[in-house]
């Protein structure tokens, strides 16, 4: 199974409530995915600064003095906000690559969850309610976000097997379904030089998108290509700097419901996930068509 939620705000006055609305939607999807949960939230971009969100299995030792160590390595100020097993590092935009290289040297056990101006990704194993509480998701502000509750089928229940997966700067992917040709696609992508952390099928889809984007395709083209190259069941939701996109496989047995009002566009694996949103009674509600790429962006 798995559950997906997404919320894209058109009404900026709702931005302080984004985390609270999205957390409730995520928790409602617990019975679709009690194994792990994750969220990608977009907001708080600052001029000249980028964000690197990192995760560690030993946060106490890995995150101790990490900001000072990075500052010494790149010669620029670095701010760090630790949230449980994750930390958000604020780095001058020109130093992002240098910071990532330094991070790999300084703390080899630390994994990069996301990189970008606005994106932050938090994900962990456990019930969505507990994951949301651990990262204080309900207090987060932002313009849009996507969340995922996982019921594992293709690979183990681990932090790195949870969604969202990063596909590039300010981009991420969540998936409901299972891919049947992920081993073949993974092999091809390894030949093309990509590296994998898990045996997870969605990581392959994320790497597939990242690879296509690096070759110069637009995200829309890359999503169209999934319809040709990826075999199996999927509803994909992708987060972008300015909004989100949705694509379902041609059979479209994995559910998807959208709701739109003047204030927001929302996505849920089920209508249940949307019922707490303001004005849902008068929202336009529909299901995205199979094999069709949709985007909602500012």
């Amino acid at each position: 199974m798995c559950g997906i939620v997404g919320l894209f705000l058109k009404d900026r006055t709702l931005e302080p409530q984004l985390g609270a609305l999205l957390s409730d939607m995520l928790i409602t999807m617990t019975d679709r995915g009690p194994d792990s949960a994750g969220i990608a939230i977009y907001g708080g971009a600052k001029d000249g600064l980028g964000k690197i969100t990192v995760q560690s299995a030993q946060p106490q030792s890995d995150f101790r003095n990490l900001d000072a160590d990075l500052r010494a390595a790149i010669g620029q100020p670095v701010a760090m906000l630790v949230k449980s097993t994750h930390a958000v590092l604020e780095v001058p935009l020109g130093q992002m690559e240098a910071a990532r290289s330094a991070l790999a040297q300084l703390r080899p056990g630390v994994k990069v969850m996301s990189v970008g101006d606005a994106i932050e990704i938090f994900k962990e194993v456990g019930l969505p309610r507990d994951v949301a509480a651990r990262f204080e998701l309900s207090k987060m502000k932002g313009t849009h976000g996507i969340g995922h509750t996982r019921m594992a089928t293709e690979s183990a229940v681990t932090t790195l097997g949870a969604h969202p997966f990063s596909t590039g700067p300010d981009q991420c992917l969540v998936h409901n379904g299972s891919l049947s040709n992920h081993n073949n696609v993974r092999r091809d992508l390894i030949h093309a030089g990509l590296r994998f952390e898990t045996e997870n099928d969605t990581e392959v889809a994320a790497a597939f998108l990242a690879h296509r984007l690096r070759r110069g395709e637009s995200l829309g083209q890359a999503l169209e290509a999934t319809l040709e190259e990826l075999d199996g069941f999927y509803t994909f939701v992708v987060g972008t700097r300015n909004g989100f996109g949705v694509v379902r496989d041609p059979i479209a047995c994995k559910p998807a419901v959208m709701a739109e009002t003047d204030a927001y566009v929302a996505f849920g694996s089920e209508y249940r996930a949307l019922v707490g949103l303001p004005g849902i009674e008068s929202a336009r509600i529909w299901e995205p068509e199979p094999a069709t790429v949709y985007f909602w962006e500012h």
Binding site: I251, A252, C253, P255, E270, Y271, V275, P290
Partner: protein
Amino acid sequence: MPSYDLATGSLRELNQALHDLRGQSNMTDWEILNPRGAHAIAAGVDAPVDIAVLGSTGYYCAGMNKQATIRIKGSAGPGVAENMMSGTVIVEGDASQYAGATGRGGLLVIKGNASSRCGISMKGIDIVVHGNIGHMSAFMAQSGNLVVLGDAGEALGDSLYEARIFVRGKVKSLGADCIEKEMRDEHYALLEDLLRRGEAEHKARPEEFRRYGSARRLYNFNIDNASAY
């Protein structure tokens, strides 16, 4: 009129109360408030009662219905009226995928659109959709009637047995072994009755529909194909 609020009461308690109506006749008019997309609302009812659900429902609303008339004043999630035996289910809004799947009898009316796989493997149910239906509808449908006032998606009636399909609008494509067939007097009479019972008699006339059915080439054994088995 018994009124049950799912914002305060449990779904299990509601469904138990509805199941307990079997063999009774004194509480015939029910109202269910705040369904909020919950699953399996009024599934397994077996009594000649009227049930109104005031809002949108999740998976399998009115599944396995026998005798009851269940009206959803909202949209329905996947598998509405799945495996219905008898009675009537009316969805005022849209229905998600596999509406009326495997239904053996009764009438399902969808006033909006139905998504993919509407009437998949239907076995005697009648389904009237006022809007459009999605892809792979009436897949392996065995008997009963599917009436669509709007358009049908890809692969309509794939691997069809003996169900009849009537579509007023466009059909994107027919599935394997599904063909258009002539409309005869008996079909006009059948449609007139279904449109009336499906609350659609003012929206469409029987002569506006085309009929689709099985070419009967797929499900009959053909000796020329023996080596393929």
